[in-house]
C-alpha cells in the first residue's frame, strides 16, 4: 500500500460525508436565523409605524407653538405602558421638542436618518442598549416664517435587547447542534462505509488465499454487490486464465520429463548391457546404431520443443512474403507421394489461395497437417486439401477418412504430446509435437486452427488472415 496516494477509502468517504452534512446544516441554520431576524424586524416595524401614525395625527392638530407643550403631555400620557418604546421630537433646528426618558439619541443622526432614509428601519446604539428605530419628517398645522407648514422630525425606537438575546441563544444552539451532528455523522459515516466496503475486504481475504498451489480458488459471487460483482468476475476470469496457463506449463514440464525419460532409460540400459561383457564388433555396432537413432529422435524433439517455447514467448516472427498455397501444397504432395502410395492413399487438392506468410514456416505447418492426415487415414481412401480465399484471408483444410475423434478430444489434438490413442505413444514415428508446431506457426501468423470430426471424416482447418498493412 502506498501511503501517499493510497488515502484510505473509508477515511475519504467519511470526510466527504461529514463535510457535506455540515454544509447542509449550516446552510439551513443561516436560512432559519435570517428569517427569524426578518420576522422580528417586521414585528418591530409594525409597532413603530403604528406609533408614528399616532404622533402624526397628533401633530396635525398642532396649530401654534404653544400647542406643543400640550402635545408633550398628550404624548407622555399615551406612551405610558409602552415599555422600551422611546420617542424623540425635534424641530427644524434640531432642538428637542419632546423626548421620552431614555430617548437621548444624537439629534444630528436622527435628522440625517429622517431626511435620507425616512420610514426605513435603522439600528441605533445607546449606552449598551440596541434600539430599532425609524425617523420621519412630519408636517404640523402651524406655519413657519416663510408661510410653509412647519416640519417636525419624529423618531421612534424600540428596545430590542430581548430579540438579540433570543438570537444569541438560537445561534448558540445551532452551532452546538451542527458540531454534535458533525461528530455523529463522522461516526455513522465511518460505520456505514466500513459496512459497505465489507465485501471488498472479503474479496481481499479470499484473494490472499490464492497461491500457485491453490489457483483453483475463486471469489464467491454470492451476496456480492453489483458494483463489485463485475470486478470479482474479472478477478475470477484472470484466475481461470492463470490456472490454465499454469496447468499447461506444469503439464509441459512433466510431459518433457516423461517423453525424455523413456529414451534416456533405453539408451542407458542398452549401453550398460552392451558394456557388461565383451562382445563381437557387430554387436557393438548394432548398439551404437540403435543409440544413434534414439539420439537423433531426441535431438529432433529438443529442437521442436525449443521452437514451441519460442513461439509461446512470441519470439517466432514470420518473415512474410507472398505465398501461393496451391503450389506449396503441390510441392508437399510430391514429398509425401511415396508414403501415401504405400498406404494406397490418393492426395488431391482443389481451389487456390495466396497469403502473405513465411514460406518455410508455412510449408512446415501444412506438411505437419498432411503427414498427420496420411498417418490417420484408412488405406485406400483420399486425403483431400481444400483451399479457399475470402475477403478476410485464406483457409486451408485437410480431410482424411479414418476413425472419428471424440468431440472432447478434438480440441486437445493440437496440444503437445497429445495422441488420440495412448497405446500409439512413442511409436517409431513422430514426436507428438507436429500439430502443436502447426498451431504455433498459424498463431504466429495471426491465424486460427480448428478441427472437426464426423462419421469418420476428420478435417483440420487453418485460417490465415491478410496481415494488417
Amino acid at each position: 500500500m502506498h501511503r501517499l496516494n493510497g488515502f484510505s477509502l473509508t477515511r475519504r468517504l467519511t470526510l466527504m460525508f461529514v463535510g457535506m452534512g455540515t454544509a447542509v446544516l449550516l446552510g439551513l441554520g443561516w436560512v432559519v436565523s435570517n428569517s427569524v431576524e426578518k420576522h422580528f424586524e417586521a414585528l418591530d416595524m409594525e409597532v413603530l409605524a403604528g406609533k408614528m401614525e399616532l404622533i402624526a395625527q397628533a401633530l396635525q392638530r398642532v396649530g401654534a407653538a404653544s400647542d406643543l407643550t400640550q402635545l408633550s403631555h398628550q404624548l407622555a400620557r399615551s406612551l405610558i405602558g409602552h415599555h422600551g418604546l422611546e420617542v424623540l421630537l425635534l424641530d427644524a433646528d434640531k432642538a428637542v421638542i419632546f423626548a421620552t426618558a431614555n430617548a437621548s439619541f444624537d439629534p444630528a443622526m436622527v435628522a440625517a436618518q429622517a431626511t435620507q432614509r425616512p420610514g426605513q428601519p435603522a439600528l441605533w446604539q445607546l449606552a449598551d442598549q440596541t434600539y430599532r428605530g425609524m425617523a420621519q419628517q412630519i408636517p404640523t398645522a402651524a406655519l413657519d416664517a416663510k408661510g410653509h407648514r412647519a416640519l417636525v422630525i419624529v423618531a421612534a425606537a424600540i428596545h430590542i435587547g430581548h430579540h438579540q438575546a433570543y438570537m444569541r441563544g438560537f445561534l448558540q444552539t445551532l452551532w452546538l447542534f451542527v458540531a454534535g451532528a458533525a461528530v455523529l455523522m463522522a461516526l455513522l459515516g465511518w460505520w456505514s462505509v466500513r459496512r459497505a466496503l465489507q465485501p471488498l475486504r472479503a474479496m481481499r481475504d479470499q484473494a490472499q488465499v490464492v497461491t500457485a498451489q491453490q489457483l483453483n480458488h475463486r471469489v464467491s459471487l454470492q451476496r456480492m454487490p453489483v458494483e463489485l460483482a463485475e470486478l470479482a468476475q474479472s478477478l475470477n476470469d484472470m484466475l481461470a486464465r492463470l490456472e490454465e496457463a499454469f496447468k499447461r506449463l506444469s503439464d509441459f514440464s512433466s510431459d518433457i520429463a516423461h517423453e525424455l525419460r523413456t529414451p534416456v532409460s533405453n539408451l542407458m540400459t542398452q549401453t550398460q548391457v552392451a558394456l557388461s561383457q565383451p562382445r563381437a564388433a557387430d554387436d557393438y555396432r548394432q548398439v551404437l546404431e540403435s543409440n544413434a537413432e534414439e539420439l537423433e529422435r531426441m535431438a529432433r524433439m529438443i529442437a521442436d520443443m525449443l521452437l514451441l517455447a519460442k513461439a509461446d514467448n512470441g519470439l517466432v516472427v514470420p518473415n512474410r512474403e507472398p505465398v501461393d498455397l496451391a503450389a506449396e501444397v503441390q510441392a508437399l504432395f510430391d514429398y509425401y507421394e511415396a508414403v501415401a502410395e504405400e498406404k494406397g492413399l490418393h492426395l488431391r487438392q482443389s481451389g487456390s489461395a495466396s497469403v502473405q506468410a513465411d514460406r518455410l514456416m508455412l510449408r512446415r505447418a501444412v506438411g505437419n497437417l498432411l503427414s498427420n492426415a496420411i498417418r490417420h487415414a484408412t488405406p485406400g481412401t483420399v486425403v483431400q486439401v481444400w483451399l479457399t480465399q475470402s475477403e478476410s484471408g485464406a483457409a486451408l483444410s485437410v480431410d482424411n477418412t479414418g476413425d472419428t475423434i471424440a468431440p472432447e478430444l478434438l480440441e486437445r489434438i493440437f496440444d503437445r504430446f497429445f495422441r488420440v490413442d495412448p497405446a500409439r505413444q512413442r511409436s517409431s514415428e513422430g514426436t507428438g509435437l507436429g500439430l502443436a508446431i502447426t498451431r504455433s506457426i498459424v498463431v504466429a501468423h495471426g491465424g486460427q486452427i480448428a478441427a472437426t470430426s464426423h462419421d469418420g471424416l476428420t478435417t483440420l482447418t487453418m485460417r490465415l488472415p491478410h496481415p494488417a498493412p
Partner: protein, 227 residues
C-alpha cells in the same frame, strides 16, 4: 584437405576431430579462441569450424581476425544458441554456414563437404556412373547393366544426389532439403519410403547392391570394394 576446429567443449572437440580425421581430413584442434586464431593465421586450412562461445576470443572474434588477415577459407559456426540474431551476425561477418547443437555428425560431414566443393568446378560430364549404373543428365535417363529403368522425377533427383556424392553418408534432413526443398524434419518416414522404392528399381534385381542404409546416420551410394 585441412580443417581447423575451434571448440572448447572437450568431448565435442575430440569426437569432431576423430570423426573428420576418419573421414579423410587432416584436422587441427584448438581449445580456445586465442589458440584457434593463432593456428588459423599461421597454418593454411581449407575450412574452419568455430564454436561461438569460446574462452579468450569468441567465435565472432576469431572469424573477424581470420577475415582481417585476408584469409577467405569457408567458415562454419556451431552454436547451442538458437537466436536469429546469431545467424544474421555470423552471416554479416562472413560465415559460410551455421549449425545448431545438437547436430548429427553426418549432417556436419555433409555440409563440410558441400562447403569444400563449393570452390570446385561442377563436372561437365553429362553422365554419372557407379558400377554398371548410368545416369544420363541430358536425356534424363537411367540404366543399369544396359537395362532402361523408369524413375519418377523425384526418384531421378534422389539418385542424382546419391551419385554426385558417392561414398558420402547423406543424412535424411540433407536429402529432404536437396531433393524436395523441405527444410524441416518431418515426423513421417518419407525418406525411408522414397529410398526403399528407389532401391526396388535400381538395386533389387541387380548385383552388387549400391545403395546402403547407415543406421542412425543416413544413406550412402557406393560401389562395394569387393571386385
Amino acid at each position: 584437405m585441412k580443417i581447423l576446429i575451434v571448440e572448447d567443449e572437450p568431448k565435442t572437440g575430440d569426437y569432431l576431430k576423430q570423426g573428420l580425421t576418419e573421414a579423410g581430413f587432416t584436422v587441427d584442434l584448438a581449445r580456445d579462441g586465442v589458440d584457434g586464431l593463432h593456428l588459423a593465421l599461421t597454418e593454411n586450412h581449407d575450412l574452419a569450424i568455430l564454436d561461438v562461445m569460446l574462452p579468450g576470443i569468441d567465435g565472432w572474434g576469431v572469424l573477424a581476425g581470420i577475415r582481417r588477415a585476408g584469409k577467405d577459407m569457408p567458415v562454419m559456426f556451431l552454436t547451442a544458441r538458437d537466436a536469429v540474431d546469431d545467424r544474421v551476425k555470423g552471416l554479416e561477418l562472413g560465415a559460410d554456414d551455421y549449425l545448431l547443437k545438437p547436430f548429427a555428425f553426418s549432417e556436419l560431414l555433409a555440409r563440410v563437404r558441400t562447403l569444400l566443393r563449393r570452390g570446385g568446378k561442377p563436372s561437365s560430364d553429362p553422365f554419372l556412373h557407379a558400377a554398371d549404373l548410368e545416369l544420363d543428365l541430358m536425356r534424363r535417363r537411367v540404366s543399369r547393366a544396359g537395362q532402361r529403368i523408369d524413375l519418377t522425377a523425384k526418384e531421378f533427383a534422389l539418385l542424382e544426389l546419391l551419385l554426385r556424392r558417392q561414398g558420402e553418408v547423406l543424412p535424411r534432413s540433407l536429402i529432404a532439403s536437396q531433393v524436395w526443398d523441405m527444410n524441416f524434419d518431418s515426423d513421417t518416414n518419407v525418406i525411408e519410403v522414397a529410398m526403399r522404392r528407389l532401391r526396388a528399381k535400381v538395386d533389387d534385381a541387380f548385383e552388387p547392391k549400391l545403395i546402403r542404409t547407415v543406421r542412425g546416420m543416413g544413406y550412402v551410394l557406393e560401389t562395394p570394394c569387393t571386385a
